[in-house]
Symmetry: C2
Subunit: 384 residues, 2 copies
């Protein structure tokens, strides 16, 4: 297996895009390729991540993006794994490059749903859950994650402030991230006063609907002469699945797909959770960040929410988590989310995360979940 490097990673500002998905995806791809310092013709395969092309009237995005990059002959495919689509795309790019099927590959995630109404967008998102058993009966994602939050609150001694601390911390980070949807801090009082969306989840427990695009360029170490950026070495690229339906699970205190993907990733990287310097984790709801930190092995079960309140996950804490602001505040453009996590890690490593730097950037982890855990990807990145 060849060593795979991330040479470039770029994102637009999440929020509401005036550009179409195709335009935004092409532009961030250009930026990532330019940053990587490679010729677009070096790209052997383009992996697009996009879930709801129907909302933007455009499927089959790869050839259009490649055409915009001047490489129409390059093969491409669009990948969907719900909210973990672009980490799934990154995994395919990793496999192609590590396996010697391409020397370099482009991963670009994009979503634009702001052109349709919120109810329609909610109904689109909802098809990533189990339609006949969950969505059709009214269980949309806030309800499903509220079920996980209720189980957690029932099992452990938690206070609303513990989850509020996750929201406050992620907003504080996003306020320093020019790519973020919400570039504003919130206070605990704001959090506690926000309306209940699906009990116990309040408005500020939930990530927003965002448009956005993010691109990542990977290449085989052996194909790179002298990198113009500080590359991320892909030490692990692991994915796992799990039972989608909540009612068929034996345990609601974590996501089995995260546990399995993490186990595979740490084994692949020959690392332990203690050796990770910072992490971008999937915080579509604040409960998801707490569960992730436990399932990934950073905290014993039932303790991550308290650790957040203690400040351990802040940028100056023992393990900075979501210095980008996370899905919660940076935003969650479904198909772009996994790639955007890599953008944050790349910017931290390359000194581009001004104002939100984490102290140590030797080894970082990205964790991206599809729906309520039907899929999960864990990537671990190191330095040369």
């Amino acid at each position: 297996m060849r060593e795979v490097w991330v040479l470039g990673a770029a994102s637009n500002r999440f929020g509401k895009m005036a550009e179409t998905a195709r335009e935004a995806a092409t532009r961030v791809s250009w930026e990532a390729i330019h940053q990587a310092g490679i010729d677009p013709k070096a790209i052997g395969h383009t992996f697009v991540a996009n879930c709801f092309g129907v909302a933007d009237h455009q499927a089959h995005l790869g050839p259009l993006i490649n055409q915009g990059l001047g490489i129409p002959e390059v093969p491409s495919v669009t990948l969907e794994s719900a909210c973990s689509s672009s980490s799934a795309a990154l995994h395919e790019a990793f496999v192609h490059v590590a396996g010697g099927f391409a020397d370099a590959a482009l991963v670009v995630g994009v979503e634009r749903l702001s052109t349709i109404d919120t109810l329609q967008a909610t109904s689109y998102f909802a098809i990533a859950a189990d339609y006949p058993f969950e969505t059709k009966n009214g269980a949309t994602f806030p309800g499903l994650y509220a079920t996980l939050a209720s189980a957690y609150r029932a099992a452990f001694r938690t206070t609303p402030e513990m989850f509020g601390a996750i929201a406050v911390k992620n907003h504080a980070n996003a306020a320093r991230n020019p790519h973020a949807h919400f570039q504003k801090e919130i206070t605990m009082e704001t959090y506690l006063a926000s309306p209940v969306i699906a009990s116990p989840l309040r408005l500020y427990d939930c990530c927003p609907f965002s448009d956005g695009a993010a691109a990542v360029v990977v290449a085989a170490k052996e194909s790179v002469r002298s990198p113009v950026t500080e590359p991320l070495v892909v030490r692990a690229s692991a994915r796992a699945g799990a039972v989608t339906d909540m009612h068929d699970r034996t345990d609601l205190l974590g996501l089995p797909s995260t546990r399995r993907a993490a186990e595979l990733a740490f084994r692949q990287a020959h690392l332990t959770p203690r050796e990770i310097d910072f992490a971008e984790v999937h915080d579509c709801f604040t409960i998801a960040e707490a569960l992730a930190l436990e399932d990934l092995g950073f905290y014993p079960k039932g303790t991550a929410a308290q650790a957040s309140l203690d400040g351990a996950t802040a940028r100056d804490g023992t393990l900075p988590v979501n210095p980008s602001g996370g899905l919660k505040a940076k935003g969650h453009p479904i198909g772009a989310t996994g790639a955007a996590q890599v953008v944050e890690i790349f910017e931290q490593v390359n000194g581009l995360a001004r104002g939100r730097e984490v102290p140590r950037t030797g080894t970082a982890l990205a964790h991206n979940v599809g729906a309520t855990g039907g899929s999960c990807s864990v990537h671990i990145f190191g330095r040369r």
Copy 2:
């Protein structure tokens, strides 16, 4: 690179499915795995091909299919490359297995659009073309392929009967295929009397909207002890892209993505077009079959339509083409089409194509196009 084998391949009857996409995909997956004689737990990755999950209210199909197969922990992803989605999925499966990332992989393509109205389905299909430049201005696929047909008719001396011969032949084959949507023969008179859809294309030049599901199981040769079927050896798995917009092309007498994918595939397989015994090619419209046969190198430019009229592509011809009935008459459930081509090749090789056998089954080619050629996949299969 490890040698990759197709051990099983199964399809339902194309047409109108009472089952949901998820149910049909799970069932054909079971059938393909059972046929392959392997334990579902041997599957290392599931690649789903599906374009319009929104029509069936279900995205993120992989975890649901895997759950039905008793392997919820296995990673999965859904791939979209317009009408070439499941050949793109097969390519990813090939890369994973050939590269040593999985010993076996499942490819399952599925589409169900019969639950929505035809106009809505047309508008969904149309997003696989270039929306702002083509679809938005009224150019749906019959119109786009009619443009290709017009260019062909203007450049070469063709008669309507040459294209009619393709439709008559494919219907004759589909009449002998229990998986086919249209299990009925048509006459040249019926073809010539059918209404014009987009001049010069008549009704019987066009493939139907079909529901359907097809699954393929691949495994590394070295992981198979004693195959219970006659495996297809994957001699080549190649993909290419090309400019999507028709107005940006310099040549309308063929598809550049087919030419490039074919060149790569024949090089990979160390074979020439003369060594192919039969082929499944992408005949979404009759003109597409003629162009494919020329772009793939089977016929000089401008001669394939005449060859069809001469009977050269019939089951007893020099090169049998689309013994399954093709997209034209077997049907075209977008996400399932590429996998269904492999089902036909597998059934021919394993003596399961009763009543529609081709004389020689040593080497076969499958050709699958996305939209009007923005993407193309070519696979070549041999025998042990």
